[in-house]
């Protein structure tokens, strides 16, 4: 069996948003839609202030709250754990958006583009009417994964089979791989380092792990 997961190393991430940009390019998302983004957070108080960057997006939960609430079955889950949205089924009720504890979902009702209502040629070529009025989110670039696998490539290793954000990460902070393979890149990272899952108490069992040394954490 295979379960695709992503690992973000917070010790490496510098908040540059290159993954955000690459995701927008890879998935042709409209302005202000960021399936992947990095948030810039601060805690503590001066002079003991700390700052951390955290890549966020769909966590591809094993038990995704978005999926159970979805009235149309548009949100689904693949054998390999990737949480999917069928844009043709979705009614755009937004229920998944309030159910998702990770603020991962977006809904765009009306097309808008970088410079107003008219698309630039580059936007027009890739505009997808099917995404209007429905929920959308990170897909773990499942089509890249699938096409890559079909060509005998290894997702997470071969760029052609790897999510766009991981390919683009300049700090080598993002990794993608099969957690059920004990020897995969992600399994090795999780064995070597300390990690956490976001909102573990909600028992969503995310497919997204954060590596962090927690050196500066003050609980």
């Amino acid at each position: 069996m295979t379960r695709w997961v992503m690992v973000a190393d917070l010790n490496r991430c510098v908040g540059c948003q290159t993954c955000t940009a690459a995701c927008k390019h890879t998935n042709a998302t409209l302005p202000q839609v960021q399936w992947r983004k990095v948030i810039d957070i601060e805690w503590g108080s001066y002079p003991d202030a700390h700052r951390l960057f955290m890549p966020v997006g769909c966590q591809h939960c094993a038990d995704p709250p978005c999926m159970s609430v979805c009235p149309s079955t548009a949100t689904g889950q693949r054998e390999d754990g990737i949480v999917t949205i069928d844009y043709d089924l979705c009614i755009g009720c937004g229920y998944c958006m309030v159910a998702c504890p990770y603020q991962a979902r977006y809904k765009v009702t009306r097309p808008h583009f970088a410079y107003g209502d008219e698309p630039m040629p580059s936007e027009a070529v890739r505009f997808d009417e099917g995404r209007m009025g429905v929920a959308q989110k990170c897909t773990f670039c499942s089509d890249r994964v699938d096409e890559g696998l079909a060509r005998g490539l290894t997702p997470g290793i071969d760029p052609e089979a790897t999510p766009g954000c991981v390919n683009a990460c300049i700090a080598d902070a993002l990794s993608f791989g099969d957690i059920e393979d004990e020897n995969s890149n992600v399994s090795r990272l999780l064995e070597e380092k300390t990690w956490f899952q976001m909102h573990g108490e909600l028992e969503t069992e995310t497919g997204f792990y954060y590596l962090w040394d927690g050196g500066k954490q003050e609980e």
């Binding site: 490496r12 510098v14 290159t18 890879t26 983004k37 601060e42 001066y46 951390l52 630039m120 080598d172």
Partner: protein, 915 residues
């Protein structure tokens, strides 16, 4: 899911060089002739320091290409009146008309003589981005060079926005126009505001992330918790402009609280000027016959010339020297007998004898114990005595480095800081050896910026040869040619082709405004001013005055992308094909800029992935057209043949040169350049033309890691690093003072004081307070905050303010949309997050949104990147404030190198509530 995330169009290889950290090699997906998306060029894995990853900025190139606000047709101004509030009255014209207009002006200028009646060039050219725009200008530089003297002194931000003191002294001391830690092997970095995560590009980010994963510690001294501070082991909120105090205190710890044996004695003794003996007038004591500097030989117990074989030089003195001479400025010579002679290291020790950590604590707000601890950790991590083998050669291994950020390493106190941090390296032998502090590129000492080793030659006194601007009576430039007079007043700027970029650009503007240089005629604006990829109306200081001055320029030709603030003052707009629409071959790899240390070197092609939009034209075509119209084809083509496009087209074993008497389109030019470049790269084994590069993108060959380190070459050549003592600098300053005073020039006297053999500690806070009082007629106590800026990776260089994607991305990084203030301090002043505040400096004020944060000192406000656009489409709607209008521009703000800092003192006033 419908989204097609796999490129399904054609993939075209090209590069992004929007900042000095490039080039980032990438591929563009093109669907039906439309560029749609950018990806890294994964073929570069293993060669490039970041495995071919690309920075966030290239992702903006698609929008940059199709931005509806682009200028796509040549235009001319119809309203002769220029001003911020004047409508230029643009009308669209044909390329023929536009080129004729420009050619006519150039012809007239040429007929009158390339220099005007004041001796200044009639043609001026200004660009930004630390000259990276040259990587987009095709063969246009060949046109400029063919023209003859052209003025590049009318700066867009250079020497204000750059690491100026580091450039000057770094290159003098260790061929380090920019410095960097040998990050892949470094274990301990002390950073004074060096914002590597924002300004180090892909390679900086990746190498530091790898080093952190390896356990490298980085101590970050900076007034606000930057994106780099965020990933550092410690953040130490130092008071602005007190870095030199902490550095001097660390030197104090190493030189006065540490036994000499714990330092790298062999390095100090054999590879630095530490043992050189210094005479009573501050110059080296020299052998009366050979005139070589003396050192004290412990074996023979006497002073001998520094290069005497079989000696054991003493590091600490003083000693009594029987007979010696000193050579001062203008060959002034003193004869000494039985003179007391401290060593250069003695002098350096004396400089910091009273600069204890306790002294620095009061100045910098950094606890003495912290300073002492870090200095000792630095020493412990230096592993003095250990070695490592690199490509078959055993070298010292010293995995420690100190680095400086902008406005620490330029302007007043820049000398103090770069000297002190380089001395930290010198004391532990961590200069130009694996793990230590390295240089990455050269500009002043030569143009082989991909391999700085090629510029090293033995010079006087056992040091490297260095091209200063002459200060002798015979050779000094009495009548300045360029408007900033770099050859006349900034000898450190270097004496070669590119040197004028390192002169005092502020002075050029001040002289044009009649605010400085009274002994010389007030320069006239250039007859023709070319501006490209820069926006001085936004990026310089006191921008209101810059705009007023630009309005006086008679003829401005803008290679214009959009209607920005500088274009607003132009006369003719020439839309050039942008990044994804034009061709250029570029040298890649080797070592260059910051953290670009490669294991290969070679060439890469930037190519037109798509047809130029509208009537935009490739820069090479424009160059051709102008050369033809001016009857300069022969000179222009000759310059291409000579090598202005990156490589000579004719060598001993090859000849790809162009016929000089006719026009060549860009395809012909770059085909020839590609062939010459690959011939050179492969030693003649392969000759690959433009078509090959269009398909494959780049060609490389291995580059030895030994070329990362200067030390082995110094060892082979028997040279010493010119540290700690700056005798040449001191002499040069004294000579310059003589020259200027002979001319009755005294307005540069304050700057002349900086020419010290060792930098006496300067209180920058006091210097700025005095400046406010003296030059702005204001009370310094009224300006309790330091206003600082910080580089943003999304915006650094690149001119991406009008790219919506960058706006969107930058909103994820705190502080881009306003003025960052300390939360506690703001609340004390009744300011809440989102309130509108006015930031008032002694010369101007700007308003912006208050953004409250814990990670900033209470006496500091921060404005990220360079905003304040009032004309640039998209950007002007963002209403983001910028620091530039606030920064006072005056002679007193310039250091001896002609550079000024990118900061100012301000006061804050709340003017509106959060919406």
């Amino acid at each position: 899911m419908h989204a097609k995330t796999k490129p399904h169009g054609k993939k075209v290889s090209t590069y992004c060089y929007q900042c000095v950290n490039g080039p980032d090699l990438l591929t563009v997906e093109v669907i039906d002739g439309v560029a749609t998306r950018i990806e890294p060029n994964f073929d570069l894995r293993g060669e490039h320091p970041a495995d071919g990853k690309i920075c966030v900025k290239p992702f903006g190139l698609i929008q940059k290409t199709y931005n509806p606000n682009r200028i796509l047709h040549p235009m001319k101004r119809t309203n002769p009146k220029k001003g911020k509030d004047e409508d230029p009255g643009w009308v669209q014209i044909s390329w023929d008309e536009a080129l004729d207009l420009v050619a006519e002006r150039l012809k007239k200028a040429r007929e009158k003589g390339v220099l005007d009646e004041n001796g200044n060039p009639r043609l001026a050219f200004t660009t930004g981005g630390a000259a990276t725009p040259f990587k987009y200008m095709g063969s246009f530089p060949a046109f400029l060079v063919a023209w003859g003297p052209f003025d590049q002194s009318i700066g867009a931000g250079g020497t204000v926005k750059c690491y100026h003191s580091e450039h000057m002294f770094g290159e003098l001391w260790h061929r380090a126009f920019t410095v960097l830690p040998d990050t892949p092997s470094c274990d301990y970095i002390i950073s004074f505001g060096n914002n590597i995560n924002a300004s180090g590009g892909v390679t900086g980010v990746r190498r530091h992330a790898d080093a952190r994963a390896r356990g490298m510690k980085r101590i970050q001294f900076e007034p606000h918790l930057s994106v780099t501070g965020a990933t550092s082991s410690e953040w130490i909120p130092i008071r602005p402009q007190t870095d030199s105090a902490v550095l001097y205190a660390m030197l104090h710890v190493l030189m006065h609280e540490t036994p000499l044996e714990r330092l790298d004695v062999p390095f100090l003794r054999d590879y630095t000027s530490s043992p050189y003996l210094v005479g009573p007038n501050g110059f080296y004591l020299r052998d009366p016959e050979s005139r070589k500097p003396l050192l004290w030989d412990l074996r023979s117990n006497r002073a001998v010339p520094y290069d005497t074989e079989g000696t054991e030089p003493a590091l600490l003195g003083p000693f009594r020297v029987e007979e010696a001479i000193e050579v001062g400025p203008d060959e002034e010579t003193w004869n000494h007998r039985n003179v007391e002679a401290p060593t250069a290291l003695d002098k350096a020790r004396a400089l910091v004898s009273d600069k204890s950590p306790e002294w620095a604590e009061g100045i910098s707000d950094v606890p003495a114990a912290t300073i002492r601890r870090i200095a000792n950790e630095f020493l412990e991590h230096a592993r003095i005595g250990e070695t490592v083998e690199i490509d078959g050669r055993v070298l010292p291994y010293r995995p420690v480095a100190t680095v400086l950020g902008k406005s620490v390493n330029n302007g007043w106190g820049g000398y103090d800081c770069v000297w002190a941090h380089t001395m930290m390296q010198v004391l532990v032998g961590a200069l130009e050896v694996p793990g230590g502090l390295l240089g990455s590129t050269v500009h002043l000492s030569g143009d082989t910026d991909w391999d700085r080793m090629l510029t090293v030659e033995p010079g006087e006194d056992g040091f490297m040869k260095h091209p200063f601007n002459p200060t002798s009576k015979e050779e000094w430039e009495r009548h300045p040619v360029n408007r900033h007079a770099e050859q006349s007043i900034t000898p450190m700027a270097g004496h070669n082709q590119g040197a004028q970029l390192f002169g005092a650009t502020t002075l050029a503007w001040l002289r044009l405004q009649g605010r400085a240089g009274q002994n010389w005629p007030r320069p006239k604006p250039p007859d023709v001013w070319f501006v490209y990829k820069c926006n001085p109306a936004i990026s310089f200081s006191e921008t209101e005055k810059i705009c007023e001055e630009m309005a006086q320029f008679p003829f401005i030709v803008a290679f214009a992308y959009q209607m920005d603030e500088t274009v607003h003052f132009a006369d003719v707009l020439l839309p050039e094909a942008t990044d994804l629409e034009s061709d250029q071959l570029l040298r890649i790899g080797g070592t260059h800029y910051f953290e670009n240390h490669w294991v290969t070197e070679g060439w890469a092609l930037r190519q037109a992935a798509v047809e130029p939009l509208g009537e935009a034209k490739d820069f090479s075509w424009i160059a051709n057209q102008l050369a033809r119209r001016l009857g300069m084809l022969e000179q222009y083509n000759s310059m291409i043949n000579f090598g202005v496009c990156g490589v000579p087209l004719q060598g001993e074993e090859y000849d790809f040169s162009l016929a000089v008497d006719r026009e060549h389109d860009q395809e012909e030019v770059w085909d020839a350049v590609c062939k010459a470049a690959t011939f050179e790269l492969t030693g003649g084994k392969e000759v690959l033309g433009l078509d090959w590069f269009r398909e494959h993108g780049f060609k490389t060959r291995p580059f030895s890691r030994l070329h990362w380190y200067l030390f082995p070459l110094m060892q082979d050549m028997g040279l010493r690093f010119e540290l700690p003592y700056q005798e040449r600098y001191y002499r040069m300053g004294r000579e310059l003072a003589n020259r200027l005073h002979e001319e009755g020039i005294h307005w540069w006297d304050r700057q002349l004081e900086e020419y010290e053999p060792l930098p006496e500690w300067r209180d920058i806070n006091r210097i700025y307070d005095e400046m406010i009082e003296r030059d702005c007629g204001a009370n310094p106590a009224d300006f309790p905050f330091w206003a600082l800026t910080a580089r943003s990776m999304q915006y650094a260089w690149g001119a991406n303010v009008s790219v919506q994607l960058m706006t969107e991305l930058s909103e994820n990084v705190f502080g881009h949309d306003g003025v960052v203030m300390n939360r506690g301090k703001a609340r004390e002043m009744g300011i809440e997050d989102g309130d509108t505040i006015e930031v008032i400096s002694p010369v101007a004020s700007v308003t912006g949104t208050a953004r409250l944060r814990e990670g900033i000192r209470p006496d500091v406000v921060l404005m990220v990147a360079q905003f304040g656009q009032w004309k640039t489409p998209h950007a002007r709607e963002l209403k983001r404030p910028g620091i530039n209008p606030l920064v006072p521009m005056n002679l007193d703000s310039l250091d001896a190198g002609g550079a000024m800092k990118d900061l100012t003192k301000v006061k804050i006033r709340r003017v509106g509530e959060a919406s």
